[in-house]
Symmetry: C2
Subunit: 353 residues, 2 copies
């Protein structure tokens, strides 16, 4: 059945499918479940470029021997406010979930904590990890080195920087949290992948060729460079993220970044960093969280240019999550066909019937 509205599948069923597929590929049950949860959380919140669409590529990488299926993920340097996690080339979602839990515990005790990863892998949607902190009433900031280079430093002509994302989650008491989740390029590879899978043209301003001309054909993306937000400003922010989430941890940055889609076998040595902070460093937490909620509401009510309600970062994703939890996650035909093929190849049941 194709051509109608996309199938909607309950989130828990998709988590079970992702976990079963990863287990069939050799991942341990607990790592498969954590990874499945993070992938489906991305789809729940509309970050479809980092959700179910990644199951096939992850399985391909595992089958090529590019991921350690029995990693010894451990803390190698630690202080009361910091830790470095060596992910031993395990799945990124597992390592960064551990890093998040560790940073949350340290911040609850010390007020503030920074945790970095080394020898990690692609960990999916950036916003998921600070969102875990925000659910516990803490502020979270996440930085990551992206898993493929896509552009030069501003003014350059060699592909040595990725889409290096930043995500910031700030809890707001009873109100919806603020949750920013952005690549430092105008768009991410994930967004382009989704557009390409839908057969859509890419808007001018997303990708440029060596002479600065727009590339709009999704099939020609690899010839060009992604464009950083704000020109030299986004380029600089991108480099700062690479230094803080990669170089500082001993992880890959610049020419040492492995393109995880093109090279399935070489460990990526991905680096990620998490800062978690208690919101009560300057005033009691209830007062701080209420003040944040009040200011966010003031912005939401400040007036809309279109007449549509003004949405802040995280608002649309939160609405989508509510809708998708109630109605199931929409799975477009092309993605469903891919997932059925993965299920068939691995001999596991697919979730579409």
């Amino acid at each position: 059945v194709t051509g109608g509205p996309p199938w909607r599948v309950p989130a828990e069923r998709l988590v079970a499918f992702c976990a079963a597929a990863l287990e069939a590929a050799g991942v341990t049950p607990d790592h498969a479940l954590t990874t499945g949860r993070r992938l489906v959380e991305a789809d729940l919140r509309g970050r479809t470029g980092h959700g179910l669409i990644r199951v096939g590529p992850y399985v391909d990488r595992i089958e090529a021997g590019g991921v350690n299926l029995h990693p010894d993920i451990r803390v190698v340097h630690e202080t009361p406010v910091s830790a470095q996690i060596d992910a031993d080339n395990g799945l990124g979602q597992v390592a960064v979930t551990m890093a998040t839990e560790l940073a949350i515990g340290k911040a609850q005790n010390a007020g503030l904590a920074w945790v970095g990863t080394v020898r990690s892998n692609h960990a999916g949607a950036a916003g998921l990890y600070p969102a875990i902190a925000a659910k516990r009433g803490l502020i979270g900031l996440y930085l990551a080195v992206a898993n493929a280079n896509a552009m030069p430093p501003w003014g350059g002509n060699a592909r040595v920087l990725g889409t290096n994302p930043i995500a910031i989650a700030i809890p707001a008491g009873d109100g919806p949290p603020f949750l920013l989740d952005i690549a430092t390029t105008v768009v991410s590879h994930g967004t382009i992948k989704v557009a390409a899978m839908a057969g859509e043209e890419i808007p001018a301003g997303w990708v440029i060729d060596g002479a600065g001309r727009p590339i709009t054909d999704p099939a020609r993306v690899d010839e060009g460079f992604l464009v950083p937000i704000g020109g030299h400003k986004g380029s600089g922010l991108n480099i700062a993220i690479g230094l803080l989430a990669g170089v500082l941890n001993g992880a890959a940055f610049g020419r040492s970044v492995v393109d995880h889609a093109a090279d399935l076998g070489t460990p990526t040595n991905t680096g990620q960093a998490l800062l978690v902070m208690r919101p009560d460093l300057f005033m009691p937490a209830p007062e701080a969280l209420a003040s944040i909620a009040r200011h966010l509401d003031e912005l939401r009510r400040s007036g809309s240019a279109s007449g549509e309600p003004l949405r802040l970062p995280g608002d649309r994703a939160g609405e989508l999550e509510t809708e998708n939890r109630a109605r199931g996650i929409p799975v477009p035909d092309a993605l469903r066909e891919r997932l059925v093929a993965v299920a068939t190849r691995l001999g596991v049941a697919h979730p579409f019937d």
Copy 2:
């Protein structure tokens, strides 16, 4: 004498002039000297929108009673990794310099520190403060709520957000540090002020009117909105900065921001935040700093589109500082005339003869 190349004046002479002018306006000698140093450091590094050009407006604000000349700047909340500084409506450069020193000391002891200000004022160029941390071999990140609102949240139509800057300094051992210093708008008010003073048209893309049309006449800037970098992305980053540097500290954000140029008498309750981190949390400092230097050099040598050397954030400012320390700081005619007028009014000697 007008029309020739700008006068160049030694930095120390300009610091002494700024300090003398502020003292004549009633500022205590130590606060006047600190403020003068930060203003001239901005000019040294080419951040002319936050340098000498501000002496007149600062004096105007002081004379209008908008600044506390004898503030009791003190730490009101403190943990081993954090502090809130109540600036008691003193000059911003003084409060943020204190915040920087405090954050540096705490980070040296604990590894990581976050210091926020409340009841502060405009503190000039954002990059100056993390640069102090980088000179001591530490990583610094600075966030501030700007002192005037200039745009709506993305999709909105009311002026409730400023240019909220972020600055990040990362030391690189023997190499020049990485130093990013950006407003989250395509340009800052300071840049527009400099263009306006030079009588230049403003490029399209800096300021838009309510219908999204570019405004290029510097005299019409106040009718329009500044444009955030990367559209919704820069808008979100801008809001995050406002929450973390303002609301969390109990400082102004959104509709409570006082336009310090339009309202000279009302305390601005400006908020700033500094994160300082030791670079040796994950590996010995010499190894970390050498690795950062090596990666920055790799980027600099990665190839230039124009044939000109590829510069990273902070490189051009560092070159300018070297040149301006050797040759003096260039002071354009229009600025010199303003400073002479300030000197005459306050009865202090001007530095141009």
